[in-house]
Symmetry: C2
Amino acid sequence: MVDIATRVYNHKWKIDPIVRSLIDNDFYKLLMCQSVFRNRPDTNVTFSLINRSKQIRLADLIDEGELREQLDHVRGLSLSRGESTWLRGNTFYGKRQMFRSDFMEFLEGLRLPAYHLEKRDGQYELTFEGRWPEVMLWEIPALAILMELRSRAVLKDMGRFELQVLYAQAMTRLWEKVQHLRNLPDLRIADFGTRRRHSFLWQDWCVQAMIEGLGDRFTGTSNCLIAMHRDIEAIGTNAHELPMVNAALAEDDTALRRAPYDVLADWHDEHEGNLRIILPDTYGTRGFLEQAPDWLAGWTGIRIDSGDPATGAETAISWWKSRGEDPRNKLIIFSDGLDVDKIAQLHHQFHGRVKVSFGWGTLLTNDFRGLVPGDGLAPFSLVCKAVAANGQPTVKLSDNPAKAMGPADEVERYKRVFGVGQQTASEVVV
Amino acid sequence: MVDIATRVYNHKWKIDPIVRSLIDNDFYKLLMCQSVFRNRPDTNVTFSLINRSKQIRLADLIDEGELREQLDHVRGLSLSRGESTWLRGNTFYGKRQMFRSDFMEFLEGLRLPAYHLEKRDGQYELTFEGRWPEVMLWEIPALAILMELRSRAVLKDMGRFELQVLYAQAMTRLWEKVQHLRNLPDLRIADFGTRRRHSFLWQDWCVQAMIEGLGDRFTGTSNCLIAMHRDIEAIGTNAHELPMVNAALAEDDTALRRAPYDVLADWHDEHEGNLRIILPDTYGTRGFLEQAPDWLAGWTGIRIDSGDPATGAETAISWWKSRGEDPRNKLIIFSDGLDVDKIAQLHHQFHGRVKVSFGWGTLLTNDFRGLVPGDGLAPFSLVCKAVAANGQPTVKLSDNPAKAMGPADEVERYKRVFGVGQQTASEVVV
């Protein structure tokens, strides 16, 4: 029986919006946004799209008009009553009223600010400039839109049957991964795959696969909208943008050296328990931990997001021991470029020595590798980062020089200030 | 948008019928039916269900009430106007008006006769008795019903998500098989999988996968309804029941010895070209060919349906040569227990030496092996055969003693009459 009403409704869509909700966004962006809204509300920042996979010529693949339609659609979004109710009433990390009333009022009134879009050398230059608490919420929807428009560009000439087979193959692949993960005792794993997902509907399916296949071992999703719809935990703490922007605002080298710790001092005031997670790699993990104040050793855990993950975890364990902490009470969250084999390997290596958790991103929500001719759906490394704050350029070093960003002279200055020596480069796939 | 009308309609179904059309049946049954209708219309035959996989206790798996509902539904079917038009107006094997008017009138008035159903030792005893041209049309729907009720019994407790993953896996598996077959030059392959299909919808999907993936190399389907819906060729010629019933009716050993050839003499009068396919194994291929009259060597091809297929094909090639025929003008159709590896192997061995074609059955339309716990969806060997004709038991020997059927003394008599010596047994999986 043909549902004529549905067909007519579908034909009436002006566009098929990719991001349909302000909270189709990562939970940690909201947490950080609240922190920024309290501590640095008037900072002017610029976020910029950076495609680290230059061979993917996005401006050739994606129609500019379609991209503008999708971005404009996001500018028209505002928090719905149900979404507001969920943010105000829900328990996050065991805590009620995680979001303060003044912040919720800000969020309820928010519309995302303007964007600036140009084509250059087959790539899009997409930037967002304005007040930090507003601009920062563009990162995830901008990335998700570009990733999904690229998927759509590749899929648009495929027939109904080919599409069915494609998704059957992707489902089968993911289900095999989930079955593999079932074998890991005491696994704790979450979906961190919003930003580079194949599509919204596919991420939603992936989350359901994790719920069905892993039960309690699946701890939740970074995506607030999916967490709300699927009635699971929203997951995430903080990211590099906090130390990056604060470092850029430092007036001299002394202030710069202190900036990453000052940010965490603010966080310490606001949060406790499993939200006290250190992201130590912004300017080199080793130096960060060596210089860290003792109260940071009391935090719950460390997230490893660049460099060799096993090395990073061993560094963290040694550091805790050197500060008189028992690593078995500490949490390590792996979140960089994970797939099942690496997850299993890290789990075996660290399970029992420390609490282990995984934030599985791109290869959870966008593994279509090898499924179309020319591998046109393979994931690639697209980011959207704070590149300036109050006119000062930001710098990120991380534990992998291939991920470093910022003007060359500033990168050198930061390396000197933070005492970063020789680093080992590894390929950045996603 | 919920389509309320569809939901209400679905809820109104008394049963979900498995066989919804009289022509959801194999094409060769209709061809043979026309032949029987002309030559032996008043023969009384008994067809009986035989489960060669005793470990599958069908009567424990399948509810008797549901089975009766499905069988009763088939008894209520009659040829629709569109189906009749298609049979009368379509071209089969390049020929118009394949079905004569008197036969079409018989078919248009036909309702399938009564069945007899009992449970014994965890199995169903299901028999059909009556006039041959009517009873013979029960074989395929009876098998398809039992196979699909077994599938439904295994699937009934699975959740929506599990089902989606199951079919995604089965689709992926079939698509990989199709991709594998694409590599075989000049492949000719048809769907012969109606009788032991997982379900009607699944067979229909498999046919679409073959159309999409193989194009012209996919020559058609044995299933008339699917051939009509998908606008492809209906495929098939004749089967063991013709020699079996005619042999059972033979009055003495001399008549018995002649019976398999008499049947083909009738066929010779009715059909030409690609419909002149010898099925030589009913009472042993070697003896059948040695004793065959010369006009049979002029036929288009031979179908290999039991025993080692390569040996059978070599026997056929030698026979053609011994009769002065060029095997390169002859067609060999392999149709027994095929899967892609065996297809590829036979294709490589015989491609160029003879025209080769494949009738791919159970492992095309019912390969869910290993996809549910306990392998509850693995295909098994269920047949429905003519076991008596005018009160005389039928006998089948074939080229594999594991497939022999009939009373022991009659089997011995047939072996003697047809000069069947030592045979090699091989396992019957499907």
